[in-house]
Symmetry: C2
Subunit: 157 residues, 2 copies
């Protein structure tokens, strides 16, 4: 199991939950970023790529930092596509509530509770049986595949 | 005024509105992408960077294509930050309804109708006077600044 490594001052903000905590199931920790899985019953294949230092906006990173971070986002996206064959991938960096740079990478399915609306909109339907049992790849295996894919990027990013 | 250039076959899908139409106010047209401004009264500083060819997912692009596209997204973000001093920038590539690769770049303000929720959530308040008159930079000037910033990237992207 990877261990969450909070940023050190001056990159650490004590009032920021993504500085203090992993923010979900920690899948992989690199020097400058980590990958977590959000624990969302409606969207079980919902990962986040979190920049380690407290930075608000994507354009606060250098171009090299942006490229490294997006490489990680792309690797997670690719695993979700290969492992789950989702209807669509959703990517987003919002941070209105927690302004600590993080990318959402979400596998969406035409049967999910909100499709085709964004996950932040009102739900359109109840999903039975539970979404997690509908995934063609079990979550522990998915986490392992995500971790393996992003580990290959860790030295460079 | 830039002119919308639809993709040619086989990159064109007749049933896709982002293949057939600009999709908003056309701000800049490059060979491989365009920048449009969504005409959204609640979020006047809402731009989209649209890949010209019909491609569904960000990871369908080559790494060079991804880097070029994200460079444009970053340039738009930087102009919005410099010109408007928004509370937050929101970036997203969803495409559940129109699966033609496009990035949303949205300047958010703590006074806007949905803040801090995403623009796709339920509104939290009515905004009077209208959002457009609250921007510190008028929209025509903002469009010009966005166009100038992304034009510098057009040959390489």
């Amino acid at each position: 199991m990877p261990v969450f490594q909070p940023p050190a001052p001056p990159d650490f903000r004590p009032d920021c939950e993504l500085c203090r905590e992993a923010g979900g199931t920690l899948v992989f920790q690199a020097a400058r970023w980590r990958v977590i899985r959000a624990q969302d019953a409606s969207f079980p294949a919902f990962y986040r790529v979190v920049w380690r230092a407290h930075v608000a906006e994507w354009s606060d990173l250098s171009l090299a930092g942006q490229a490294g971070l997006m490489g990680v986002v792309g690797a997670v996206e690719r695993v979700l596509r290969d492992a789950l064959a989702p209807t669509k991938i959703n990517l987003a960096s919002l941070g209105n509530v927690v302004p600590h740079l993080h990318w959402h990478v979400i596998a969406r399915f035409d049967w999910d509770s909100h499709f085709p609306a964004p996950v932040w909109a009102a739900p359109a339907r109840e999903v039975v049986p539970a979404p997690v049992v509908r995934l063609r790849t079990p979550l522990p295996e998915l986490d392992t595949r995500v971790a393996r894919a992003v580990a290959a990027l860790a030295p460079a990013a």
